[in-house]
Every structure is written in C-alpha cells, then in structure tokens.
C-alpha cells in the first residue's frame, strides 16, 4: 500500500484521539454542569438558595444550554482543529452569559426589587473551563497581533451589547451597579488614573535610570538592589509607610497640598504603585540594552554614530520590545494592585471590593473585581500584541 493511501486513514483516526488539556477542561465543565448554575436570594445578604441548570432556566432554554455544553465538551475533549475549539469555546461562553441574564429574568419574581440572582459555582466553573479552552485554542492558533486585538475588540463589543441591552439587568451585580452608577464611573476613572499614571511616571523615570545603569556599571548593583528592596515591602505596608512623609510634605512644603499631595488618598497610592513599577522597568531596560547584538553596536560606532545617535537609533529600538515587556508586566500588576489603594482612601474599584467585604455582599465585591480583571486582561492582550509587532527583525528567524 502506498504512503498516500495511509495518510487519510491516520488523519481520520486522529479525530478520535483525546486532547490532554481537553480531558481536564471536560472534567471541570462536567463538575460545573452538575453544580448549581445560579444562586437565588431573597435579599442581597442572606445565604443563597442553589438552582441547577434545569431549574434556573425555562425548559427549552435549559435544553439548549445542555446541548451547547455537550457540543463544547466534545470540541474540548477530542483533537479537532484549534479554530473549531476557539469558535465552540466562544459560542459556549456567549451562551453562558446570555442565559445567565435570561435566568435572572426568569427567576426574579415580578415587582420584587430585593431578590438577587447571582452566578453560582456551576456558572463559574463552566466559565473557567471554556475560558481555558479559548485561551488554549488562541495560543495554538498563533494569530497575528492585529487579529488578537480584533478578537478582543469583538469580545468587548459583545459585552457592551449584552450589558447595554438590559437583558443582564436582573443579575445581582448589575443591581448593585444600578444604585451606584455615578460612583462606579468616577472610581473607574480613579482606577485608570492610578494604574496608567503610575506606569507612565515609572517609565519616565525608569527608562533613563535603566540607561544610566547600562552606561555606568558601578551604579548598576546599587540601583537594582535598592529597587529590589522596595519590591519586597508588602504593598499594604508601603501604602501605610507613605502616609507620614506625604502628610509632612503636604503640611510643610508650600504648594504641595495644592498639587493633591496628602497623607492619605490618591497621592500615596500613586507613589506606592510607582515605586513597585520601577524595578521591572529599570531591569528590563537594562536587560534589553545588554541584549543588543554586539556586532550592531560595533558597526554603529564604526560608521561614525555619536553616542546619542547610537542610543536612539540602534540600542533603544532594539531593546524596546524588552522594555515594553517590562511596561506590560507593571501595567497588568498595577491594575490589580490599584485595588488596594481604596484602603488608604485612594479610590478605584477597590472601594467596591472593600465595601462588599464589609457588608458581606459578594455581588458588590464582584462589581469591583470583575472590571479589574477585564481591564488587566485587555491590557495584557493589547501590550502583548504591541511587543510582538515592535520586535520585528530582532528575533532570530
């Protein structure tokens, strides 16, 4: 028999081979399907009453969800093309969200504004399982950066549509949002200002500092050790430690308080986030510059570039993807870390998290946590794509 005759056969049997990660995903998804899909509560702080899929949705919709889940499970379990896995994963995730909204509308008694429907353990596990399927498929597809950004935009657009359509309004977290809409958006602005502002400041200071460390070997160890020490201070302690010096500055330096500097509030939060950002940015700048091919540097010197021309024209552009990777790390880190700023009155999404913990209202915690996670994830996708596009030619073929 010819080789050509064998290959379609092996391709066909390949279809039935199990996917290792798919087995894990399937187990998690099965557990998710078995656990309660939503929790029903008579008001926002009483313990929930679990409802499985079959009770959470009207019959036809429950059947639809189970069918979609089964198909998604098969796509995860077997070795099918990553594109198929991706599409099935997205279909399941979309169905989960749409049906969660539907379930909330279905379960909420008419004209009852106290009842709360929140996602149950089953929903979260299903979300985890199929998010894993999607990210795995995306990694295997090795899509071009702009395609990944397009997919991100598509997902964000779908979320905006879903939230804007009002079909999600009966879900508990959105009920918390409804009573706090103005506060939510002002805290969102603060959160973004804290995360992006601290990273911008750290870049303005950190990149020149990294260049300085690169140029002058003697300062390298000192600067890096100092920044390493800052990094080891627990975040809450650093927020606290900054209260005294900043309060002193606000009281004793003319104009300081006019600039918004005070012992508690946004200023110490910004300073602490800035301090945490410095080490990754400085060390990535240094590593990036050290990684520039020596031949390119020698050629640049040999052709008569001045030190400045060499730095701006050759060294920094070649180090840029590594520097950008550092910025990506701190941006994602600071979007998460900015949540703690609320502890010292710095604002941000952390306000809802801590209020929610104080009131044992998990829905309110989610109102702060979910946007934070979405923001961090989106920032990671966008910056990864940027890193990839800027590293053209610098990686070995």
């Amino acid at each position: 028999m010819s080789i050509a005759g064998i290959s379609p056969l092996t391709a066909r049997t390949g279809w039935f081979k199990l996917d290792k990660l798919g087995v894990l995903i399937s187990l998690v998804a099965l557990a998710g399907a078995w656990l309660p899909f939503v929790l029903f509560r008579a008001n926002r702080i009483v313990p929930g009453d679990p409802r499985p899929v079959t009770e959470a949705l009207p019959g036809p919709w429950a059947a639809l969800l189970i069918t979609v889940l089964l198909v998604g499970l098969l796509a995860a379990l077997f070795r099918v093309a990553p594109g198929v896995k991706l599409i099935m994963g997205l279909v399941v995730l979309g169905s989960l969200f749409v049906l969660l909204g539907l379930s909330a509308n279905f379960l909420t008694p008419d004209s009852d504004s106290f009842a709360r429907i929140s996602p149950g353990a089953g929903f979260w596990l299903l979300l985890l399982a199929f998010a894993l399927l999607v990210t795995d498929a995306l990694a295997r597809l090795r899509l071009r950066p702009w395609v990944r950004i397009a997919i991100l935009l598509g997902v964000v657009g779908a979320m905006v549509l879903l939230l804007g359509s009002g079909s999600f309004n009966q879900v508990s977290t959105l009920k918390e949002y409804a009573t706090r809409a103005p506060a939510f958006w002002s805290e969102a602005r603060t959160h973004l200002a804290l995360a992006f502002g601290s990273v911008a400041l750290a870049s303005v200071v950190g990149i020149p500092l990294g260049i300085w460390c690169f140029r002058i070997k003697r300062v390298r160890a000192a600067v890096l050790n100092l920044l390493n020490m800052v990094q080891t201070i627990p975040s809450i302690a650093l927020f606290g430690l900054l209260i005294a010096p900043l309060a002193w500055m606000a009281a004793n330096i003319p104009g300081a308080s006019a600039l918004g500097i005070s012992g508690i509030g946004t200023a110490p939060a910004l300073v602490a986030l800035f301090a945490y950002s410095l080490l990754p940015i400085v060390s990535n700048t240094l590593v990036g510059l050290l990684g520039v091919p020596p031949a390119a540097v020698d050629a640049a010197m040999g052709m008569g570039m001045t030190g400045r021309q060499r730095l701006l024209g050759v060294e920094l552009p070649l180090a840029f993807p590594v520097i950008l990777t550092g910025i990506r790390i701190v941006l994602v880190q600071n979007i998460g870390l900015a949540t703690i700023a609320a502890l010292i009155g710095g604002g941000g999404f952390g306000v809802f998290v801590f209020q929610g913990i104080g009131q044992t209202a998990m829905d309110l915690v989610l109102l702060g946590a979910v946007p934070t996670v979405v923001l961090a994830f989106a920032a990671a996708v966008v910056l990864d794509a940027l890193v990839e596009t800027t590293s053209r030619g610098t990686r070995k073929p």
Binding site: P293, A296, A299, M301, G302, G304, R392, G393, P397
Partner: protein
C-alpha cells in the same frame, strides 16, 4: 595613503600592538594576517579610532588622525565586520543609507545611491530595498554589509574577517566581487584575516602579525619566497609554498609557442589551476585558449621551474 608610525596599544601593561610601523599605498589592498590574539584586529581598529593608541601616530594622506573627531573620521572610512553587523530592525535600504544619512545627504541622492549599490551587488533594489536583514541569506547579508560600508564613497575600507562566516563557495564569489569593486573604485582596503590563502589571493601587500609585532610586510610572492621568520613560513605552510606561488601567476603570462593535445585551458586561469589540470589529465602540456582560439601551450616543465624555490 595610510602611514602607521610606531603605534603601540597597551592593555593592563601588556602590549597588544607593539611599535608597529606600516605604510599602506593608496588604491591597494593590504591584508593583515595573524593568529587570534596577534593584535591584527586591534591594529586595524586604531585606523578608525575604535581603539585609541597608547603611543605612536597614524596619518591618513599626511593628516594625523589624532586631531580628527572620531565620529567624523569614521564617516569617511568604510567599515565591514565579521557577521555583517547589520541593524536587524532596519531594512536593507535603511542599513545601506546609514552613513549618507549621518552626513546629511539629500533624500533623493541617498535613495539613488542605495539603489546603485544594491544593483552593483546583484541585489534587485525593488525586491531587496524593503526587506529586513534576517530575511536574507548569509551571502546576501554580507553583500549588504559591504554595500553599506561603501555608501558614502569612502577612499578607505576597513574589513575585519569580512568573509569569515561564509561557506567556501559563497566566500570565493565574495572575494571576486571585492576585487572587482576595488579595481573599479580604486578604494584603499585594509583587510584582517587569519586565512593565508585569502591573504595571498586578495592582497597587494601582506602584513604578518604575531604577538603584537609586525613580522613582515611585503608583496605575496616575496612573503612566499622569502619568509622573514620561521613563524611566517609556518603560516604559509611549507607544503603549500609551491602551489601558493603558482596561484599568483596567470597562464597568459607564461605562454609558450607550440601545440598540445586535448582539452584547452583558459588564458585567464591561474597557473595553479593549469598545474592541477596537467597532473590530473597526465599530460605534459595543455593548449591555451583565449577568446575561443588556441594561442599556444603551457608546459609542466615550465610550471615546475616556476614553482621551485628561487636560487
């Protein structure tokens, strides 16, 4: 003309280059040969001030280079290094345009020069101008490296092991290209290599270095016939001497009248190739062809005399 006068470079009390004096004639190729650590690269790098001498002087066309700012001097001297040293983030066109841009040439003039050079190196500008270096083969990268060094029409070209990373076939082609370009532009070339074969093939003058000292500087034939020290003789390779000597001559210069049988050899071939053909075909003479006509013969007896040690 490059005059190197009693130049010394000291690192941590050790003379890496030790009181070397060498004059390089304009429009000639000077090949500096030596083993690694002989100081040959350091000597070359002092010509464009990538290394500052500890003592001594280098003059280019009579002007002491100590008085010229380093970046200004370097823009006047072409520089090619092993492994090409192309800027990986810049296109082929941008790489070639580096020095013209530093010199502030007009955009039009720079673009024309880039296309002219790419054509000269058999790289179709439309096809290669916007490619990135990593998309090119090793031989193409090396050619772009030389094109970049020649962009601002320098009188002097410094080359540090320029063909070291190439495989033998591509290297031979690159060497021929370099000779053609040198003849065309009359560039003064200083080339560093550890390969004596390459030195004999390319050099008008060969400067042999060892332990920081210049042992001998002379024409290839002179170096082969009269090595100044046992080390120079060893570098040439004692068993290689007759063949190296033959490789310097052309069949056209040693034609004899008469008629020989069999396949003819081209008049432009080297005596070494003729000798090899004689031995391989078991003949005592080869007919010589020039422009398709038989113009005479070259004999084994004559070649044997030419390859013998001069008395």
């Amino acid at each position: 003309m490059i005059e190197i006068d009693e130049i010394t470079r000291r690192y941590d009390g050790e003379d890496v280059v030790d009181r070397v004096s060498l004059t390089i004639q304009p429009r000639s190729i000077c090949v500096i040969v030596g083993t690694s650590g002989s100081g040959k690269t350091t000597l070359m790098r002092m010509i464009n001030k990538l290394v500052e001498p500890s003592s001594g002087q280098i003059r280019i066309d009579g002007e002491d280079i100590a008085g010229i700012p380093a970046y200004e001097l370097r823009r006047r001297i072409g520089y090619v290094i092993q492994g090409h040293g192309l800027f990986p983030h810049r296109t082929v066109g941008q790489n070639v345009a580096t020095v013209p841009k530093l010199l502030g040439w007009e955009k039009r003039r720079t673009e024309e020069r880039v296309d002219e050079l790419l054509q000269l190196f058999q790289l179709d500008p439309a096809q290669f101008r916007n490619r990135l270096p990593h998309e090119l083969s090793g031989g193409q990268q090396q050619r772009v490296g030389v094109a970049r060094a020649l962009a601002a029409k320098p009188n002097i070209l410094l080359m540090d092991e320029p063909f070291g990373a190439l495989d033998p076939v591509i290297r031979a082609k690159a060497q021929e290209d370099l000779l053609a370009i040198q003849r065309r532009f009359g560039t003064t070339i200083v080339l560093v290599t550890h390969d004596m074969e390459e030195a004999i093939h390319l050099g008008d003058t060969i400067a042999v270095m060892d332990g920081g000292k210049l042992l001998q500087s002379a024409a290839p034939a002179e170096i082969i016939r009269n090595p100044a020290t046992p080390f120079v003789a060893e570098l040439i390779g004692t068993s290689e001497r007759p063949f190296r000597l033959l490789s310097l001559g052309r069949v056209a210069d040693h034609l004899e009248p008469g008629h020989a049988e069999g396949e003819a050899i081209d008049a432009a071939a080297s005596l070494r190739d003729a000798f090899a053909e004689l031995l391989w075909s078991g003949r005592s003479a080869l007919p010589v062809r020039r422009d398709g006509e038989i113009v005479g013969q070259v004999t084994l007896a004559a070649l044997s005399r030419l390859a013998a040690r001069p008395q």
